[in-house]
């Protein structure tokens, strides 16, 4: 049985009139790359900041490593590494000095060799003594990751880790995240608004919109669920909608455009759907289950 590393229950946070996070619940299992997906402003960063005690929740409970975050803050943060949005480090210090500071702040007295090994791992050993202000965005991102990993945490939280990176940098970051989970046995919570990235690295996914959970589950279950999202193109959507509405196995029907309906149903019943439409005298142009994460995400968030 898998251990639950993060368990969040009914988490809420309001900033003035804005409900940034609304009754959010989710759980992250040990060893997985848990994707946290949502558009900009959906509430991802606010949630992550609450997990790192940067923001006090208005309501809700957070348990990490089976411990209550409020009561065991230091113990939990000692076992957690994080990069929140841009890894803004001390620009006037060298990479080595930055890494040494963050190791100390994590409660670790690292030797010079340990720090250099860490910089070697992210490909910055040769520039260890250069000031961070001379670094490119990609180098800063890698140094940020080194700072998050220097104390060998069990849980790694990365907020938009590929932001500002070029395609090669994105691929390297993705590779590193997968390696940390697969080879290092780490649990990673990775937030992003890039669906394609999530599709390539996450094993589980949480989709939020306007601070609320829209969907949660294993990636393959979300992409290939028993209940599929189906798009039907017909010439007469009104008649089709009326016909489909009479069944009890087709749900959440809505018109996406004048010739396109979208609804939920069991995938195994698609042949039955075809027969129903033909018997109803409707001209079918196409029937298509929605597969990609992007389409799933857009459908779930209604965007």
């Amino acid at each position: 049985m898998m251990n639950t590393i993060i368990r969040v229950k009914n988490l809420s946070k309001r900033f003035g009139d804005l409900q940034a996070v609304d009754q959010l619940s989710f759980s992250v299992s040990a060893g997985e790359v848990y994707g946290f997906l949502g558009q900009n402003g959906a509430g991802k960063s606010t949630t992550i900041r609450m997990l790192l005690t940067l923001i006090e929740p208005d309501e809700g409970e957070i348990e990490i490593f089976g411990l209550n975050l409020r009561q065991h803050r230091k113990e939990i943060l000692k076992r957690t590494g994080a990069v929140i949005e841009r890894p803004d480090l001390y620009k006037y210090l060298s990479a080595f000095d930055n890494l040494r500071i963050f190791a100390r702040l994590s409660g670790m007295k690292a030797s010079r060799k340990q720090l250099m090994d860490q910089l070697e791992m992210v490909g910055l050993a040769e520039r260890a003594n250069s000031r961070v202000k001379t670094y490119s965005q990609g180098m800063k991102q890698r140094l940020g990751l080194a700072c998050a990993l220097v104390h060998d945490p069990g849980l790694i939280i990365l907020d938009e880790p590929t932001n500002g990176l070029d395609p090669q940098g994105i691929a390297e970051m993705r590779e590193m995240i997968i390696r940390l989970s697969r080879d290092g046995g780490k649990t990673l919570l990775v937030s992003s608004h890039l669906l394609s990235e999530m599709e390539m690295m996450a094993s589980s996914l949480l989709i939020i919109d306007n601070g609320r959970k829209v969907a949660e589950g294993k990636l393959d279950e979300l992409l290939n669920p028993k209940t599929a999202l189906v798009e039907l193109a017909v010439t007469d959507t009104r008649a089709a909608r009326q016909l489909l509405g009479q069944t009890d196995w087709i749900h959440n029907i809505h018109e996406k455009s004048i010739r396109l309906l979208r609804f939920e149903m069991e995938k195994s019943r698609i042949p039955e759907l075809t027969r129903l439409l033909v018997s109803g005298g409707l001209d079918i142009q196409s029937i298509r289950p929605v597969h990609s994460l992007e389409e799933y995400f857009l459908a779930q968030t209604g965007k």
Partner: protein
């Protein structure tokens, strides 16, 4: 244990920043300028204060213009401006990190927020002390080297206070300790403003503005402010260091060695400054403990 680690990190960061050395450079330059001016025009400077008494007795300008006298002159001229240099560092302590974005990385580590604030305050205090030690080296020991030593004469409005040279060094030591307390008050205030801001300029400007406003209020010397604001204004009490150079005299007008004119006033000033430090620090800690880190 974590507090010591945090303090070391804060000091490391302070002394790795080029702006830290601006203050040390500025102090060295101002002191050297004052020393140069007094070396060349010391007599004219002393005459400004002794004009009214020069008819009564002969003023020994040469021996008066010694290292101790120069050091007191330097302290008068620059201690009023040092708050700006202190604000430059302390005002940036929290807001600078918020603006830079490092604050969220630091607060997300297994450290207490109170510990973090206290370490930043302690680092600012150490910076203040080092600034004053630097000033002492240049203003006191540098002046002794350039001008020699001798009895100290201090002017106060129409009065002169004369101190034997054997009775002087402890006064400088006490004055520097008091100045450290006064500047630590400024550091605590700048740190408080820093907790409320997310850019470093705001707290630095706010600190300097507060000092300027209260200094002006204090210098107006109108009854309204003399009776209400000035007794409790920290700018009034920041000048308490001068009290160590005002001596008690016998009925015959002879200086009593080791005395100060008004020790109770010195104790009160120190108490008020300590009270302000405590107040600013409490506000900072209480606010920062609950602050959502959004930067």
């Amino acid at each position: 244990m974590m507090f010591i680690t945090l303090l070391r990190i804060e000091l490391f960061k302070i002394f790795k920043r080029p702006r830290t050395y601006i203050a040390f450079g500025a102090i060295a330059m101002i002191v050297l300028l004052v020393q140069l001016a007094l070396k060349v025009n010391g007599k004219d400077f002393i005459q400004l204060y002794t004009d009214s008494q020069s008819d009564t007795f002969e003023i020994p300008y040469e021996s008066m213009n010694n290292g101790y006298f120069v050091c007191v002159a330097v302290l008068h001229m620059i201690l009023i401006h040092v708050p700006l240099l202190v604000a430059l560092i302390a005002g940036d302590m929290i807001s600078g990190e918020a603006g830079l974005g490092t604050l969220r990385l630091v607060v997300g580590k297994p450290i207490g927020r109170t510990e973090l604030i206290l370490s930043k305050f302690m680092a600012s205090t150490i910076y203040v002390v080092m600034l004053l030690v630097w000033m002492a080296i240049f203003a006191l020991f540098g002046s002794i080297l350039l001008f020699g030593s001798g009895d100290l004469v201090v002017f106060r409005e129409e009065n002169m206070h004369l101190m034997n040279q054997q009775d002087v060094l402890w006064r400088f030591f006490a004055a520097f300790v008091f100045a450290a307390l006064a500047l630590t008050t400024i550091a605590a205030m700048a740190l408080m403003f820093s907790a409320f801001s997310e850019n470093s300029l705001g707290p630095i400007v706010a600190t300097v503005c507060v000092v300027i406003v209260f200094t002006i209020v204090q210098q107006l010397k109108v009854p309204l402010f003399e009776q209400t604001i000035n007794p409790w204004s920290f700018t009034t009490h920041m000048l308490g260091w001068k009290g160590f150079f005002y001596v008690e005299k016998t009925a015959e007008g002879v200086t009593i060695d080791g005395s100060v004119e008004n020790p109770a006033s010195l104790v009160k000033s120190a108490g008020v400054l300590l009270g302000y430090i405590l107040l600013f620090l409490t506000v900072t800690v209480q606010y920062f403990k609950r602050k959502d880190i959004l930067s």
